[in-house]
């Protein structure tokens, strides 16, 4: 039998710290959410959403993309760069 975790109890230790993150939106993988299986390198608009400002690939820790989709996204972005659909860098 799994050990029962105390579900209640005093939690007043780091109240201020906790409050700070109370309203942070939960990150999720856009591709899992929309059930996108294949990320097309020709879909410029989609890829641009993941290559903001300086055209760098949006990191997973910020975008929330899952590892499987991040890998596919990476391939798609690199292909799109090869055929000049999206830039390698901004300027």
């Amino acid at each position: 039998m799994p050990r029962k975790r105390p579900t209640s109890g005093p939690r007043g230790r780091k109240k201020g710290f906790k409050r700070k993150f109370l309203f942070r939106k939960k990150k999720f993988c856009k591709f899992c959410d929309e059930k996108i299986k294949y990320i097309d390198y020709k879909d410029v608009r989609l890829l641009q959403a993941f290559t903001p400002e300086r055209s760098k690939i949006f990191p997973r820790r910020i975008s929330g993309t899952c590892s499987r989709h991040q890998r596919k996204l990476m391939v798609a972005i690199k292909r799109a760069r090869t055929i000049a659909l999206i830039p390698f860098t901004a300027d």
């Binding site: 299986k37 294949y38 097309d40 390198y41 020709k42 879909d43 410029v44 608009r45 989609l46 292909r79 760069r81 090869t82 055929i83 000049a84 659909l85 999206i86 830039p87 390698f88």
Partner: protein
Amino acid sequence: MPKYESIFIGDPTLTDDELEKLVKSYESLVSDSKGKILNLERWGRRRLAYPIGGREEGIYFLMLIECDASFPRELERRYRINDRILRHLTVRVENEAQLGPSPIMKARPPEREETPVPAPTQPPAPPAPSA
């Protein structure tokens, strides 16, 4: 036979006739090698994301082909030889989504093929300049 999609960017300084010839040459290359062209998309003139060989624009073509697995190597070799091709990319089709129209064509406003541009009706001849 496996399917591939192949994009190439033609030199924007070519005339329409020369571009047509370029496309034809690859079409015949595919059919001569017992391949089949499933679809050909002409994206037309697009601005390149970065200059290639001093060109700011390129004429994009997308071929969807079904051919022997040894053919892409030959195709790419021909692309490389041809200096009218700025860039090329051939990838294997791994998902049915690649077989349909590409996002770039979908984003286009629907072709005006069905409703041809009305022939410019001759405006009534301007009144003869009065003497």
